[in-house]
């Protein structure tokens, strides 16, 4: 039990550092066990150093930086232990254009093992999708869904 946990922990820890540096185009981050002898109860800490900056507490991170660091951890878990699919609901809401670009690039790599459903208002995210569904509220106040091509996605559906 503890052995499985430690094996998984090491693998995810390695992937997390890799994912972080790819998403932030630099910097470094790592996971740490509070108690090596009691890894599960001791808990897992996160340390992050953004490109060019000193290592500081997670509390100081910006909204977009927090989103991206959390995405790095989720992606690391998916890489080590893929699920058949993963639904991401507006995880890109606070990301700027260049961060969305790196997020999408990394997601495409992971999509060979896991199907992704991305709920988004972001044009760049939509352009990474193979299939697009547009959901609107009909006059009868019930949801209706249509299949869209990328060139059909306009301001009614996206920001």
């Amino acid at each position: 039990m503890k052995k499985d946990f430690l094996e998984t922990y090491k693998a995810v820890s390695t992937e997390f550092s890799r994912m972080f540096t790819r998403l932030f185009n630099g910097g470094s981050a790592r996971l740490m066990l509070n108690d090596e002898d009691s890894p599960i109860d001791g808990g897992i800490e996160i340390e992050a150093r953004l490109p060019g900056k000193r290592e500081q507490g997670l509390v100081l991170l910006s909204g977009g930086e927090r989103s991206l660091t959390a995405v790095a951890l989720v992606f690391a878990l998916l890489k080590v232990s893929p699920t058949p699919f993963c639904v991401l609901d507006e995880v890109d809401a606070m990301l700027d254009e260049s961060n969305v670009g790196r997020f999408i690039e990394l997601l495409k790599d992971l999509s060979s093992e896991t199907q992704f459903v991305l709920i988004t208002h972001n044009r760049n995210t939509v352009s990474a999708a193979d299939v697009i569904y547009g959901v609107t509220m009909g006059k009868d106040s019930a949801s209706q869904v249509i299949s869209l091509r990328l060139d059909e996605v306009d301001e009614d559906f996206i920001n």
Partner: protein
């Protein structure tokens, strides 16, 4: 692709029967505020057996069922079916397509079906366990919750790793 499709009827804002197919590796869902995008995510969470109403942005079973509007009567039942492509037999069941269905009625009753056959929740959960989708916190990242992994306590974070192990 393992995740083949999702059917919704009477679930939250999906009053009308809606069939979504997922033939691709990356599917995007777009649309205005309040149109039903997160409700699709809730539907997936719900059919995968979620029992915590707070994660479904609800308080009780009835909140899962289309409540009606000025121009449309309310529904008596909510039904969500998730379809898996099982040609590779990754699921230990002798069908090339596996459909898991959950239904809820206004009296609070829930029903569970595998390939349209009523089953006990126990058997439904058992098969769900084989999909690798139940009890995996990181399968569905809800709106506004992307940085949960950062804000939870270190020991709660260990749970994520236990799921992956």
């Amino acid at each position: 692709t393992k995740f083949a499709g999702l059917d919704l009827q009477g679930y939250k804002t999906f009053a009308k029967e809606t069939n979504l197919v997922f033939p691709a590796q990356i599917t995007a869902i777009v649309g205005p505020n309040g149109s039903g995008k997160s409700n699709v995510a809730d539907a997936i969470r719900w059919v995968l057996g979620e029992q915590s109403y707070s994660l479904l942005r609800a308080k009780k079973t009835e909140d899962m069922i289309y409540s009606g509007s000025d121009s449309r009567a309310r529904a008596g039942m909510a039904a969500v079916s998730i379809k898996f492509n099982n040609v590779s037999k990754w699921l230990p069941i002798d069908y090339s397509e596996v459909v898991l269905t959950r239904r809820a009625y206004r009296d609070g009753k829930n029903e569970y079906l595998i390939n349209n056959q009523r089953v006990r929740l126990k058997d439904f959960s058992e098969l769900l366990g084989r999909t690798g989708l139940s009890d995996r916190t990181y399968t569905i990242i809800g709106q506004g919750l992307v940085d949960t992994a950062l804000s939870i306590r270190p020991d709660e974070r260990s749970k994520l790793f236990e799921e992956a192990a």
